[in-house]
């Protein structure tokens, strides 16, 4: 492991209050400072990379709230990414743990498999089986991890599940940019609505939009979980996929994917034939809200009379430093007010696959986030990451819709009546 960044940590603890796992557990080993300290000891060979060590590395959400909080400039993101593979290699995992991890890695990066699983999930929820199993207490008896997976199943409609966007959508009026959109694996299945909204907004703002149809995962899940090789392979394939279209900008509407795309330059810097290409590629990557904030608006926006609580997705705010742009985009909608929340820097507990592998901590964090969001009395919660969307929805009171900011912009550009989410429509009408 590269020990240079380890030496930057002066043990001041400024990162502690931003770290969700520390806030929940109060344990030094569950904090950035503690994890860095252990990594340092491991790098010096003073402790072995064993189960206890691995446990505290695994429990890190990778939310990176600790990075901007650090006055000493410690690159925790680099540290955790370089230690995870080591843990994967050296820490023997129990059978159940292995199986569960394999299930996730076998499921999430593959849209078709995921779609199948979701369809099964849909049948499961629609058929009343879910209710039945809950009533019988079967769910409560599942191991907590499987329970988490079960609880995450979003209320997807059949239509959203199979809606997909065309490979190319021409921009309206004089075309300003050629934009590629990463459809995202989990996103494509669970959030067809978000992708459709993204395409519509970009096209309306004069961008030709290309959405490669390859079933390609960007590798974010793998990289963030320490599966280095897998991550690098997926990165190369993704670059090749987008290179086909000669794009000005590559847009992501999932924060986790966006930050992975932006890291390709680093991940592949050692690869002779990909280093340059990856660098050039990463330079083109924007989050959808970043691009929209950069592009002077062309379209007229209809008022939306809504109170919106905005939740900073970790991979957007901390990993990409994108905080003001989503707010700007939202504020460009007349009638809509954006509200910041208490403990904004604290992760909602979704981060990557965290809510699946560390469900107890994730649940406490999710509940806490939902409480802070609700305290602002919102009509709608907006967040720019699929994982957050799923996680937060679990804990919010009924009647508060969780959306991606681009969905609100889409609704505003198209006029409220066209907005797809039925209950939001009702809400808006009721206020008139």
């Amino acid at each position: 492991m590269n020990s240079e960044p380890l030496a930057d940590c002066v043990h001041c603890g400024f990162c502690l209050p931003t770290c969700p796992t520390y806030v929940v557990s109060g344990q030094e080993t569950e904090s950035p400072r503690g994890r860095i300290y252990l990594m340092d000891l491991a790098a010096r060979g003073e402790i072995s990379v064993d189960e206890a060590f691995g446990g505290h590395i695994d429990s890190c959400l990778g939310c990176l709230a600790c990075v901007p909080a650090c006055p000493s400039g410690v690159r925790y993101d680099k540290l955790i990414e370089s230690v995870r593979p080591q843990v994967e290699r050296e820490v023997p995992r129990g059978f159940a743990d292995r199986l569960f991890r394999r299930l996730i890695f076998a499921l999430f990066p593959y849209p078709n498999r995921l779609r199948l699983a979701a369809l099964a999930g849909l049948l499961y929820t629609r058929s009343g089986l879910r209710t039945l199993l809950h009533r019988l207490g079967v769910v409560e008896r599942l191991p907590s991890r499987l329970r988490a997976l079960e609880a995450l199943l979003p209320p997807v409609g059949l239509q959203a599940l199979f809606s997909s966007v065309p490979e190319m959508t021409p921009g309206r009026g004089e075309v300003r940019l050629r934009v590629g959109l990463l459809a995202g694996c989990a996103n494509r299945v669970f959030f067809g609505d978000v992708n459709a909204a993204t395409v519509r907004v970009l096209a309306a703002e004069g961008c030709d939009v290309y959405v490669p149809r390859d079933n390609q995962c960007c590798g974010a899940l793998s990289s963030h979980a320490g599966h280095e090789e897998d991550g690098a392979e997926r990165a190369k394939a993704t670059i090749e996929m987008f290179e086909r279209y000669r794009l000005d900008v590559v847009v992501a509407n999932v924060a986790g994917c966006g930050s992975a795309l932006k890291e390709y330059g680093d991940i592949l810097s050692g690869s002779p034939d990909f280093a340059e290409r990856a660098k050039a590629f990463s330079a083109k990557v924007r989050d959808i809200t970043e691009l929209l904030a950069e592009l002077p608006a062309r379209t007229a926006r209809a008022p939306l009379d809504l109170r919106v609580a905005y939740h900073d997705a970790c991979h957007l705010a901390n990993a990409q430093g994108v905080r003001s742009q989503p707010r700007e985009v939202l504020r460009s909608i007349p009638g809509l007010s954006v509200h910041d929340i208490a403990e904004a820097e604290l992760c909602c507990g979704s981060a990557g696959i965290y809510n699946l592998v560390q469900p107890d901590t994730a649940e406490e964090l999710g509940r806490r986030k939902a409480e802070n969001l609700q305290a602002t009395g919102p009509d709608v919660v907006a967040t720019a990451n699929a994982g957050c969307l799923l996680q937060i929805r679990r804990f919010l009171d009924e009647g508060i819709t969780v959306v991606h900011p681009v969905q609100l912009l889409d609704a505003s550009i198209r006029g409220v009546a066209l907005f797809a989410t039925a209950d939001l429509n009702a809400k808006t009408r009721e206020r008139r």
């Binding site: 030496a7 930057d8 940590c9 002066v10 043990h11 001041c12 603890g13 400024f14 502690l16 209050p17 109060g26 344990q27 030094e28 080993t29 400072r33 503690g34 300290y37 252990l38 000891l41 003073e46 402790i47 064993d50 206890a52 060590f53 505290h56 650090c70 006055p71 000493s72 400039g73 410690v74």
Partner: protein, 482 residues
């Protein structure tokens, strides 16, 4: 420690509150002063005050030494564990029990951070005055133990001036309330003695603090000076004019460079010293005195004055100042923060002498300090990898003792802890220290509460700790003593 005792801790506190894995214990082996490391036998994470008392009772019965730990940001090794002892972390006692706007006070658990108290009070227009630079992370328990100050203690005083009472678990496992609902109480000021005792007299488990109303007006300026000495003179003249600034803080060029690299807080990069002066209080008073301060800075040769235009700019000035220590991590792999105090009128002398000591040691020293009260924070920069640790420690000790020789103190706010215990004989006579030991023994008969801290011990300092030198004022016949 026997398995039976460990089992008893588990029975009393729950399994998830007892850490015994060797890897996990290592994470607790030091606090903010990483040069000292001791691995404890156990770490306890109680969730309630009652559980703290349970844990201490077991310790007392078994004569197991214990060390309370807050956020572990202490800079004197106060929370350094004791081998074969337990660390009692207060990080799970983090609720704000009550904010009482009418009586302007808050009741909190010890693990609540300093800043969270102010956050909870803010809706009522109130705040908790002590503001150590580490306020976003350090705990009120740690503040009490160290009698922490902050940039604004020149006008508002230290933690001891803002705590009304504390429920304390004494080293024998019994509990007592120190202090009362008002500052008037019968008998000795046992709370006052507890505050600043560095965790050696017991563990505070519930604390009532005073809250102050936010000042009606606040004005802040940053004045650049061609030398640190000139800036120091400006401060002296401001205070001589009968002005008590809320804060008067100074940073030298090295510190400014680090802060600007960490976050652009708008400090001029090409100046030798930046002096932050903040006035607060009634609008009329602040306006009048602010004009005087500007004039005095000008009289002392300031090259540029930047006045914070709004709350945002002001916050940025302070964010920069408060991040200064940690930001120095960007320009030096390692550093030691010193904390000596000199009479304000000797600031210039002290700084010159520190410069000489640093040159002689061949190390860089950056100065960030509370200029208003003469509390210096020389940062000794070094590289452990380059084998400079020992020289740095030597220099650091020399600076602390220089402060004593100038009629000041070893520590203004970070405490003696492990770090400076062996220098105590420089500042205090054997009788002074023996008398302090009486106070300690009154609270802690068996010597199990954070042993080895504050007072020099033969184990730590060798049989003959440094010899006491008479205080310079004694030597000059100005002070008498036996």
């Amino acid at each position: 420690m026997t398995g039976d005792v460990r089992a008893e801790f588990v029975a009393a506190l729950g399994a998830d509150a007892v850490l015994a894995d060797p890897v996990e214990l290592r994470a607790y082996e030091c606090d903010g002063l990483t040069g000292f490391r001791v691995v404890p036998a156990l770490v306890l994470l109680p969730r309630t005050a009652a559980a703290v008392a349970d844990a201490v009772r077991i310790c007392a019965r078994e004569r197991i030494p214990f060390v309370a730990r807050g956020a572990g940001t202490g800079l004197s090794g106060g929370a350094l564990p004791v081998a074969n002892g337990v660390v009692i972390s207060l990080q799970r006692l983090r609720s704000i029990i009550e904010v009482d706007p009418v009586n302007r006070r808050a009741v909190v658990e010890p693990g609540v951070t300093n800043l969270d108290i102010s956050r909870a009070a803010a809706p009522h227009g109130l705040y908790f005055a002590p503001d150590p630079s580490s306020q976003q992370v350090c705990t009120i328990g740690g503040n009490i133990a160290e009698n922490s100050g902050g940039a604004h203690c020149l006008k508002y005083g230290f933690t001891v001036h803002h705590v009304l009472s504390a429920d304390v678990v004494l080293p024998d496992g019994t509990t007592a309330v120190l202090g009362a609902d008002s500052p008037h109480l019968g008998g000795y000021d046992l709370l006052g003695a507890f505050i600043g005792s560095e965790g050696t007299l017991g563990i505070a488990t519930r604390i009532t603090v005073k809250l102050l109303p936010k000042p009606a007006a606040v004005r802040t300026l940053v004045a650049d000076f061609p030398s640190v000495e000139q800036a120091g003179d400006a401060v002296t003249s401001i205070i001589a004019a009968g002005i008590v600034p809320a804060a008067a803080e100074m940073m030298d060029a090295v510190a400014i460079e680090a802060v600007q690299a960490a976050l652009d807080a708008g400090y001029s990069r090409d100046t030798a010293a930046a002096l932050i002066v903040e006035l607060d209080g009634p609008q009329a008073e602040v306006d009048i005195q602010f004009a005087e301060v500007r004039q005095l800075c000008q009289n002392h040769g300031t090259t540029n004055i930047r006045v914070a235009g709004d709350e945002h700019e002001r916050a940025l000035v302070w964010k920069g100042r408060k991040a200064a220590f940690a930001a120095v991590g960007r320009i030096s792999p390692d550093y030691i923060v010193q904390d000596g105090v000199v009479p304000r009128t000797l600031l210039a002398t002290a700084l010159t002498r520190i410069g000489e000591l640093a040159a002689a040691a061949g190390l860089r020293v950056s100065n960030v300090f509370h200029a208003g009260d003469g509390n210096l924070h020389p940062l000794v920069l070094y590289s452990e990898a380059a084998g400079e640790l020992e020289r740095a420690e030597e220099l650091s000790r020399a600076i602390a003792e220089l402060c004593v020789d100038l009629g000041g103190s070893l520590s203004g706010e970070h405490g003696i802890g492990t770090d400076k215990a062996c220098s105590m004989p420089r500042q205090f006579s054997e009788d002074d220290l023996a008398t302090m030991a009486l106070l300690r023994a009154a609270y802690d008969t068996d010597g199990i509460c954070n042993p080895g801290k504050v007072l020099p011990t033969p184990r730590l300092c060798g049989e003959k700790p440094g010899v006491h030198r008479p205080h310079p004022l004694e030597a000059a016949g100005l002070i008498e003593r036996t």
